[in-house]
C-alpha cells in the first residue's frame, strides 16, 4: 500500500520558481502512480485564475502543467475558500476543477494524508 502525499502550495504563479517546482513534485509523483493531492492555499490560489498572460513577463506558461495534472492521475485538487475570498476570487471562474474547502475541512484534509509537503 503506497503512502499518500498531500502537497500544499502557497506561492503565487509568477513571483518565483516555487510554483513550477511544486508542480514538478506533483507530476513526478503522478507519473509513479502515487496517491497524492494538491491544495492551493494563500497566494497559490492565484495559479487557478484562467487566461493569464505570462508571456508579458517573459515567463513560460504554467497553465499547461496545471492542466496536465488529471492526465497524470492527480484528480484530488483543493483550494482554500478563505484564500479565494481574501483575494476577491470567484470560485466559479477558476481554470481548474478544484474542490473548495472551509477551514475545518482543511484540517480534516491534512489529517487524511500520510505525508505533507508545503511549498
Amino acid at each position: 500500500m503506497n503512502r499518500s502525499l498531500l502537497i500544499i502550495c502557497r506561492q503565487s504563479p509568477w513571483s518565483s520558481l516555487q510554483a513550477r517546482e511544486m508542480l514538478d513534485i506533483a507530476l513526478t509523483g503522478g507519473a509513479f502512480d502515487l496517491p497524492l493531492a494538491l491544495l492551493f492555499l494563500d497566494d497559490a490560489v492565484l495559479q487557478l485564475l484562467p487566461e493569464q498572460q505570462p508571456s508579458l513577463l517573459q515567463q513560460k506558461d504554467l497553465t499547461a502543467n496545471l492542466q496536465a495534472l488529471p492526465l497524470f492521475g492527480i484528480e484530488q485538487l483543493y483550494a482554500a475558500r478563505r484564500s479565494l475570498t481574501e483575494r476577491g476570487l470567484d470560485e466559479l471562474s477558476l481554470g481548474l476543477p478544484v474542490q473548495v474547502l472551509d477551514d475545518p475541512e482543511l484540517k480534516q484534509l491534512i489529517s487524511q494524508y500520510d505525508q505533507v509537503i508545503t511549498l
Binding site: 520558481l17 517546482e21 513534485i25 513526478t28 507519473a31 502515487l34 505525508q115 505533507v116 509537503i117 508545503t118
Partner: protein, 130 residues
C-alpha cells in the same frame, strides 16, 4: 524510526542550520536517516564553492562532513541544481560549462528519489518551506 529529510532553503537561511542540527539529533537519538533531499534553493547547500567569513558557520562544509561521517545518502534534485548552476563533472561536460561545484558526498538525481524515499520512510520532515 526511518526519516527522510527534505530541505528547500539555501545555506544562509536559519532553516538550513536547523535542518543539520535536527539531523544530528536524529542520529544521536538512535534514528535512521534514509535520505537527505535538497530541492529549490536548498540545492546551494551542496555547492562546494561558497566562501564564508572565518567567524561564521560554514554550513555547506558541515553538511559534507556530516554526510561523510555517517555515510548518508545525500541527493540533490538535478533539475533544480542545473537551473541554479550547481553541476557535477558529467553535467558540466554535457552542457559545455567550464566549472562544476557539486560538493563531495552529494549526488544529482531526479525528483523520483524524493517520492521513493517518502514511500520507504516512517517520517518525512521538510525544512525551509514558506
Amino acid at each position: 524510526m526511518k526519516f527522510v529529510i527534505a530541505l528547500y532553503a539555501p545555506p544562509q537561511a536559519p532553516s538550513s542550520r536547523r535542518t543539520l542540527r535536527f539531523a544530528e539529533a536524529l542520529l544521536a537519538g538512535g534514528h535512521e536517516i534514509t535520505r537527505l533531499f535538497l530541492y529549490q534553493d536548498g540545492i546551494y547547500n551542496a555547492a562546494s564553492t561558497q566562501v564564508v567569513p572565518q567567524d561564521e558557520v560554514d554550513l555547506s562544509h558541515e553538511w559534507r562532513q556530516f554526510i561523510q561521517r555517517h555515510q548518508l545518502e545525500g541527493v540533490v534534485c538535478i533539475a533544480a541544481a542545473l537551473r541554479r548552476g550547481v553541476l557535477d563533472v558529467p553535467e558540466a561536460q554535457r552542457h559545455a560549462r567550464t566549472a562544476s561545484c557539486l560538493a563531495e558526498g552529494w549526488t544529482l538525481s531526479g525528483l523520483g528519489q524524493l517520492h521513493e524515499a517518502i514511500q520507504q520512510a516512517d517520517r518525512l520532515i521538510c525544512f525551509g518551506g514558506p
